[in-house]
């Protein structure tokens, strides 16, 4: 009878399990919870409350401050959707109408150089209605990401494809509908994924300064009344939302880009 050791394969399996993408986020979250727990045992509650206290406050936020949660999410989703449409259109216009390109591009690049705080302060002066303020702030901050990425995407389209497609003598609309649009879908999804976290941070900032309802306004209030547990509860909620949103876009990406082979580096 031959005895073989199972220790090495078992160790490899454990390592593979730990390094698996599926477990990376839960393991990191558990690590952070442990760090907060340890910190809460050392620091007073107004500096670092325990994870359990944060969880209880989070439950309270979800049950009693639902309007603020919904307001932030709706604002964020509407602004993201509008930025996606406007930014994509601007990117396509810049790519397809060459005389307009340098002017639009210059305008967008100047916009990217304006600090977010400037836009927030300007919006407070320009718009009386908080909804308009927040929508405007998110729009001016997010549109350039879409516009420039889409422009780059279209310019990166292989010339060979254009030459092949144009050999059939399509109309300009057909070029957009059947060649450009499918080509820029990955760029739209990639931009959406990368701006989600940024947009969430921006909306909190904008609500903190320019609104009375919403997560940012509530967090401002919690900070002013020394409720660290509420600040962290809102933070947890926003992080959870960002993760869910990122995952949703990834699912959409897997569905819409099933034609794309996934490269795996060794």
């Amino acid at each position: 009878m031959t005895v073989t050791s199972n220790a090495e394969p078992a160790r490899r399996r454990r390592l593979a399990l730990l390094s698996g993408e599926r477990w990376a986020t839960p393991i990191t979250v558990l690590g952070l919870v442990a760090v907060v727990q340890i910190a809460s045992m050392i620091a007073p509650p107004y500096i670092m409350p325990s994870p359990l206290t944060i969880l209880e406050t989070l439950y309270g936020v979800l049950t009693t401050e639902t309007l603020d949660v919904v307001a932030t999410l709706v604002r964020l989703l509407i602004a993201l959707a509008c930025s996606l449409v406007i930014g994509t259109l601007l990117g396509v216009i810049m790519a397809m109408v060459s005389p307009v390109r340098p002017y639009l591009r210059a305008l967008i690049v100047i916009d990217t150089g304006i600090p977010a705080v400037s836009w927030i302060l300007v919006a407070v002066f320009w718009f009386k209605n908080p909804e308009h303020r927040i929508f405007f702030i998110l729009l001016v901050i997010l549109v350039p990401f879409y516009a420039l990425n889409i422009l780059d995407g279209i310019r990166a389209m292989p010339k060979d494809w254009v030459e092949m497609y144009e050999s059939f003598r399509p109309s300009r609309w057909q070029v957009f509908r059947y060649l450009i649009y499918p080509h820029i879908v990955p760029y739209i999804l990639m931009t959406t994924k990368s701006v989600f976290g940024y947009a969430t941070r921006m909306i909190i900032f904008a609500e903190l300064i320019g609104a009375a309802v919403g997560a940012g306004a509530r967090m401002g209030m919690a900070q002013a009344t020394f409720h660290m547990d509420a600040v962290l509860a809102w933070t947890v909620l926003l992080v959870a939302f960002t993760l869910v949103a990122q995952y949703s876009v990834e699912l959409l990406e897997r569905r819409m880009l099933k034609w794309r082979p996934e490269a795996e580096l060794r």
Binding site: F168, R169, Q174, L257, W259, R260
Partner: protein, 244 residues
């Protein structure tokens, strides 16, 4: 059957890129149902001539006419008249094989059910019926080239342009595909202008061979019939002599 009225007419055409003269006072004609091979070494200007016929380039001097129209400017008249199979397959990665074949018909606004039927028929003719729902990255080089050929032929073009369509394939696939294409082009009796640097491709497929020497002028013109093809060694020798 060949008629006298040319379908492609190139008259005293010159084409310059900056100071570089790619085509110098070139003239030739292609008649309906004729298969003409443009043979020449790399840099002889073969691709430039094909681009002029396709309309993606304008001549600096002279006139290019396809069915009596200038291919570089008369877009609607020539819509669906020219099918091109390129050196590399140029399949769109987000479309399956059958969807790639349907590109031209989509542009010509053929009803979707008819378009799907015709695309499936042509995939069958290029021996690709089993790969109809596969994406380009799931196909080999030879398979992709076959799909690309079906894409060019499915619109029933008056003229087929083949741009070194077999040059990037391995020798075995290239020979097999060349035979299939020759049979296919002859069976549908398409006017075909194809460019190649491989003399054997030209001898096997063409009714007429135009040997180009830089900057794209005709150094030798050979009309081929079955009798001439029986002695490919001698033809090859003549062409090689001019190409050197």
């Amino acid at each position: 059957m060949l008629t006298d009225k040319p379908i492609i007419k190139i008259q005293n055409v010159s084409c310059k890129f900056g100071d570089f003269l790619a085509v110098d006072d070139l003239s030739f004609e292609v008649r309906p149902s004729e298969i003409v091979a443009l043979v020449g070494k790399t840099g002889a200007g073969k691709s430039t001539v094909l681009n002029l016929v396709m309309g993606s380039l304008r001549p600096t001097q002279g006139q290019v006419q396809v069915e009596g129209f200038d291919p570089a400017s008369s877009s609607p008249e020539l819509r669906g008249k020219i099918g091109v199979s390129f050196q590399n397959d140029r399949l769109l990665p987000w479309r399956t094989a059958i969807e790639n074949v349907e590109i031209g018909m989509q542009i010509l606004k053929v009803p979707p059910d008819k378009s799907a039927q015709q695309a499936a028929d042509w995939l069958g003719r290029v021996k690709m019926e089993t790969a109809r729902d596969k994406y380009p990255h799931e196909l080999s080089g030879g398979m992709r080239q076959r799909v690309s050929l079906a894409r060019a032929l499915v619109i029933d073009p008056a003229i087929l342009l083949l741009d070194e369509s077999f040059s990037q394939l391995d020798p075995v696939t290239s020979v097999e595909l060349r035979k299939d294409v020759a049979a296919l082009v002859r069976s549908v009796r398409k006017t075909c202008l194809f460019i190649t640097h491989r003399i054997e491709d030209a001898i096997e497929m063409a009714d007429r061979i135009l040997v180009l020497a830089p900057p794209a002028r005709i150094a030798l013109e050979l009309a081929l019939d079955d009798q001439a093809r029986r002695n490919p060694g001698s033809l090859r020798e003549q062409i090689e002599k001019v190409m050197q």
